[in-house]
Symmetry: C2
Subunit: 249 residues, 2 copies
């Protein structure tokens, strides 16, 4: 990795970039994933490269929904694995949710490498390398799912999802929690809960909320979930960007 | 390349992405270049993926400045070469400006490949593979320049430049024309003229203006240049984004 001084004003952004380039070199991240990361960087810049109050409220609702879920599953792609593999495994254990590797540009080799990475980072139940179901309405490779994983889940946490797949999961009747820095994307609009934040901040935040709320009653958790409106949250995220644009000017 | 249907609503954006992935596979584009492309995509999306009136005015001023220049040079990096190599060579011939290859993540191998690509795409005078000067204030590899090229230029067209290098060229007393989709970037703020547009649209537009204005007198051209204010143009570009955000909502 290129050496980056810790006092650089954009330290985290630069480190994240290097982690993804390393991900490509390790065979975990796709080149298209690098472009997607760039898009995320631009939107992160526009929200001020910090977790907004709007994102924090969405994160809290997401944690409550995950704690209420009967069969929560965390979907992992190449960028997620390169950036927050350890944090995903910790969250997986805390909320008792298996992980499932799911790639937009699927190759079995890349799936294998990500499974290996997740295993060495402490994940216990990992699906994805042996899919036995096809999600309706998607092209073959992208439709692949595991009967014990995403296929049977009631709530799926899918950071950095693409629009088509998000829509297909919703059509299957699942609740979808996504992490997407673009509040205008189709994924953001389709998801049940969209956290407009950088994944490297959002996953630890979900973990912190879940830990804090683990002792709450289902009714208390349910209240947090129903109070949240995704449309309203996205609209606020756009206002956050507009506000920040004024400040940056 | 992945097959993309021509009627896809985001056809150009997807084709551009595939051209860059091909650029990496051909050894022309760096992986960091892919991330930079992603950032550009996000800002392009925010301006509506079309050339705004603001960008068109900046493009016209840029063409006038290039026609007025005594020693204009076009700086080419890995993304520029992957996306608009042919168009750069056509512009180069029209305005009688040599090109110089200049890379942020410089390797001699990549310089060589880009020089070869430019030559096969019709560029005649190409510098960069034999630099004999160092631009003051930059780290060694990024400082490299050719005495007959950028070093001696009065006007440099540097699409997709980084902030440090743009600043260093300005400090040398050169006029810098840049193409940058982020109106808030340091490059955008430092440059003499910033065209807030996608390079795949901007280079052909500069060409069209230069062709149209080639018969103008220096005084007429000068008038177009002095009427242009970069600060005002950037401020309008931000307003364009804010307007478009409202429409997208």
């Amino acid at each position: 990795m290129t050496e980056i001084p810790e006092d650089h004003p954009r330290y985290m952004s630069l480190v994240t970039r290097e982690m993804l380039v390393k991900g490509v070199n390790d065979g975990i991240t796709s080149m298209q994933g690098l472009i997607a990361q760039g898009r995320g960087e631009a939107f992160d810049y526009l929200i001020g490269e910090k977790t907004t109050g709007t994102a924090m409220r969405a994160t809290k609702a997401a944690a409550a929904m995950l704690l209420l879920a009967e069969r929560p599953v965390i979907s992992v792609n190449g960028n997620t694995a390169a950036l927050v593999s350890k944090e995903i495994c910790e969250l997986s254990k805390l909320i008792d949710a298996p992980v499932e590797v799911n790639l937009f540009h699927r190759t079995e080799e890349r799936v294998g490498k990500i499974v290996k990475r997740l295993r060495s980072d402490g994940c216990i139940t990992i699906y994805g390398d042996n899919p036995d179901r096809l999600i309706p309405g998607l092209s073959h490779d992208r439709a692949k799912a595991s009967s014990e994983g995403i296929w049977a889940a009631d709530v799926v946490l899918v950071p950095l999802e693409d629009g088509d797949r998000c829509e297909a999961l919703i059509r299957m009747g699942k609740k979808v929690i996504t992490i997407d820095l673009n509040p205008l994307s189709r994924t953001s609009r389709m998801a049940t809960i969209t956290i407009v934040d950088n994944i490297v901040r959002a996953i630890p935040n979900i973990h912190a909320f879940a830990l804090e709320m683990k002792s709450m009653s289902p009714m208390e958790l349910q209240e947090i979930v129903v109070e949240f409106s995704n449309a309203e949250s996205l609209s606020r995220s756009l206002e956050d960007i507009a506000e920040n644009l004024k400040k940056l000017q």
